[in-house]
């Protein structure tokens, strides 16, 4: 049992580390993109059709890459930013970039749920575009954004497990190393169970938080 824990715990910490930072960076990239997507749309508060088209194309392009291929393609970028291409820290780069377009779409759909009427109301009161974004769009969409972030984290847990197979570390790496190469199925099963528990807890916390915050 302690042997197992000695194997699982460091890998779990690696997974948490990768997921935590890649979530943060994908949000930093994805949120502004999502906001831009919404406000630059035709008929919206900062209409920029050309920009909107370009952003849409980039996001669609990035989203159409299978994650593993994207990760390999991004090795040079990891090298440039982190100095190496394998290991948990290096994996954060492709994880964040792979998740960013997803986060942008999540943000976009959350913001689009905000009733057109309250935007008109804000306009009728002479609110500026930044005021509408920070005081109306984001607060009104908050519960839905939290759901989106939850989904992002869960996706990233999955991605990080995949990344494990090409040198990323973490629970996915552990499962493959022991389960596939050494036929220690018990380690593989244990890692999978931990991943499942992780996903369930994230989902539960996300739902609870969104529910508590939603006043609608």
């Amino acid at each position: 049992m302690t042997e197992m824990a000695e194997l699982i715990i460091p890998s779990l910490l690696e997974t948490l580390y990768m997921v935590f930072f890649s979530t943060i960076f994908s949000i930093l990239l994805g949120f502004p993109l999502g906001i831009l997507l919404v406000i630059s749309e035709k008929g919206s508060i900062w209409e920029k059709p050309l920009l909107n088209n370009i952003l849409n194309s980039i996001i669609n392009l990035l989203r159409s890459f299978p994650f593993l291929i994207l990760m390999i393609l991004l090795f040079p970028l990891s090298k440039l930013l982190i100095g190496k291409t394998i290991g948990t820290t290096a994996t954060i780069v492709p994880l964040a970039i792979a998740a960013a377009p997803f986060v942008a779409r999540v943000m976009e759909s959350s913001l689009k749920e905000v009733d057109r009427g309250v935007i008109e109301l804000s306009l009728s009161m002479g609110a500026t575009t930044p005021q509408i974004i920070t005081r109306v769009l984001l607060p009104e969409a908050l519960p839905s954004i939290i759901h989106g972030v939850t989904l992002t984290i869960i996706n990233l847990i999955g991605y990080s497990a995949m990344a494990g197979s090409i040198g990323g570390g973490g629970l996915g790496d552990l499962a493959i190393r022991f389960g596939l190469y050494r036929f220690q199925t018990d380690v593989m099963v244990a890692s999978v169970i931990v991943i499942v528990i992780l996903v369930q807890s994230v989902q539960f916390m996300g739902n609870t938080l969104a529910k508590v915050l939603n006043k609608k």
């Binding site: 009733d115 009427g117 309250v118 008109e120 109301l121 804000s122 306009l123 009728s124 009161m125 002479g126 609110a127 500026t128 005021q131 005081r135 109306v136 607060p139 009104e140 908050l142 519960p143 915050l213 939603n214 006043k215 609608k216």
Partner: protein, 335 residues
């Protein structure tokens, strides 16, 4: 206060183009409650939304206190809008903010100090009688309460003009009345000019001073509410009035077996106080048969309608009618 000149709004989508507002001219006086009534699709919302340029007019000019708002650049327009409050059919409250923060919203936008905001919001809560709901969220309020919050928010930074796009259409009759009386108080006590859109004649009757009637994008009649009820100039107006007049009339207007002359009398409050009918009977050689009558309470006066059958010779009937007209009663010979 507001002077709308040759205002038109066209919506163009591909080859189609739809003229939602057609060459509208109208003036709204300071301190007035001005109604705009029309059927669905008549262009009322489009017209009122042009006043704060939520909709860009295609042609024409709109002066608000002598400033042509159609010529304002984006920034001046934004500042101008702060002087125009607006309320909506579906309230448009911020769902994630409580009552207090909803009302504070326009003040926060202007960067008021916290203590000033606090003072003003509490004052407004009292004004719209919602002090006990201060910390409630919109989802916990009734329709009427939501509209009160929206009104408090709309007048928070002391605008000079309040626009209402079907502000009472989502409410039941009793709540509608209480909202209308709140609007009337706002006009009287705070001197805010109000332009309100509605498709309900009851609303016009209850609070408006003057009213514009819209049909297919055009304003077909502008009248004081008194005169509109006494003597509508257009058929559309008459139809709207009939939506609240009694239904009995229709049956009597096409009667068989009535031998005399049918007339409809319309009179305002003061004329109603004089015993006109008994004078007619005493002074002229006619018999009078009262067929129907009703009184519409407008917010300043009453308009009464009577349908009479006059029986007698033609000469006497003519004299009777001209006597009534001298008494300031509007007479329409129906048959």
């Amino acid at each position: 206060m507001i002077d709308i000149q040759n205002l038109s709004k066209k919506y163009i989508s591909g080859k189609d183009h739809l003229v939602a507002v057609k060459n509208v001219n109208l003036q709204v006086n300071k301190g007035e409650i001005f109604g705009i009534i029309g059927l669905s699709g008549a262009g009322k919302s489009t017209l009122i939304r042009c006043i704060n340029r939520l909709e860009e007019p295609t042609e024409g000019r709109i002066f608000i206190e002598n400033v042509d708002i159609t010529r304002l650049d984006k920034e001046s327009l934004r500042l101008m809008r702060k002087e125009i409050g607006m309320i909506f059919q579906h309230f448009n409250l911020l769902n994630q903010k409580n009552v207090y923060d909803n009302i504070a919203f326009p003040l926060q936008l202007e960067g008021w100090a916290k203590s000033e905001i606090d003072k003003r919001v509490n004052e407004l809560l009292e004004y719209v009688e919602l002090t006990d709901k201060k910390l409630a969220f919109p989802s916990q309020l009734s329709g009427g309460q939501k509209q009160r919050v929206a009104i408090a928010r709309a007048i928070a930074n002391n605008p000079k003009l309040l626009l209402s796009d079907e502000g009472t259409s989502a409410l039941d009759p009793r709540t509608t009345k209480s909202i209308l009386s709140l609007l009337n108080r706002i006009r009287t006590e705070l001197g805010i000019t109000i332009v309100m859109i509605t498709h309900q004649m009851e609303v016009v009757k209850e609070v408006c001073d003057r009213v514009a009637i819209m049909e297919n994008g055009e304003v077909v009649e502008i009248n004081t509410v008194q005169n509109l009820f006494r003597d509508p100039k257009t058929k559309t107006a008459a139809t709207f009035i009939n939506t609240i007049a009694t239904d009995v009339e229709e049956e009597i207007i096409s009667p068989n077996g009535l031998k005399g002359t049918l007339i409809r009398l319309s009179y305002l409050g003061e004329s109603a106080k004089r015993p006109i009918i008994s004078k007619v009977i005493r002074n002229f050689n006619v018999d009078v048969n009262i067929l129907s009558g009703n009184i519409n309470k407008l917010h300043e006066t009453n308009v009464g309608h009577l349908i009479l059958e006059l029986i007698g010779n033609e000469d006497e009937i003519k004299k009777t009618i001209s006597y009534l007209q001298d008494e300031n009663v509007h007479v329409e010979v129906i048959q």
